[in-house]
Symmetry: C3
């Protein structure tokens, strides 16, 4: 990979992705919102191709795109894992390096301290 190293500016915000069964996306999103663990959740349908224990899988899932404080990421991961129907759910965190300041502030206000 390109070698020009540079620490990314931090906004205190992150995006968390998780794939879930379509039947559970609304429920999981609303429970995380009610716990003030995330400020907003976008849901979009995806087709997921992967291997599970050697078997090729081709599933229709919903991708949850959750916006929250970076400091809450570990707690969101633990809570979502506890609600999630899969044995090993995909829950990953991506950094947000900039944004519209009032929106970044809104995410902070909408999520627990």
């Amino acid at each position: 990979m390109e070698t020009m190293q540079q620490a990314e500016p931090a906004t205190g915000m992150c995006v968390i992705w998780s794939t879930v069964p379509p039947s559970r996306s609304e429920d999981l999103a609303k429970r995380l919102l009610d716990k003030e663990l995330v400020a907003c959740v976008n849901i979009t349908p995806v087709r997921s191709l992967y291997r599970w224990k050697g078997e090729a899988c081709d599933d229709r899932e919903h991708l949850l795109i959750m916006k929250t404080k970076k400091s809450l990421a570990d707690l969101v991961i633990r809570e979502l894992k506890g609600m999630h129907p899969y044995e090993v759910p995909e829950i990953i965190v991506l950094p947000v390096i900039a944004g519209h300041p009032p929106y970044l502030a809104w995410v902070q206000e909408e999520t627990r301290d």
Copy 2:
């Protein structure tokens, strides 16, 4: 979070996300392209769950996935905010840490200096 600290390689490129009303996605995308502020915009429908001023909201939106130079991110944020119909639009920036070199170069060429 995992503590192995590592500055990410930088590519000079970023991805900017914004959620917009479906009726405005094409217009906003084309205006940013015409101003050479972004090289490419992907548009995909999402369902958005969030609270606004204490009210639970459940909206159909379009997610704009914009690819541009990192150095243009602040300008894209300001310009998009000026065109956007929401009071506090979601406009966030994610880092791109590597990519197909000719594509990264194309993004640089397609956007203003």
Copy 3:
């Protein structure tokens, strides 16, 4: 952009995006999976607006969202470029800064060393 500099924690994992013709998404995803270059691929339809050699383009594409080891990113880029029908395909890499530990471990196990 905000100036508070902070090296992001690294997980050894990344997400790779590429836009492809809808007719090729399944084939390209399965070939990368078979080569153990990626652990999982989500596919979602997008509308892409951009300019190519001065011409405004408005295409229906599929976005491939691939999860893999960061150490494999360059190889995935080269292999996908070799299979991809476009002259200059979009292939970009985003960092994953945290995640559900068993899932991060699964991505490592499912992809070649």
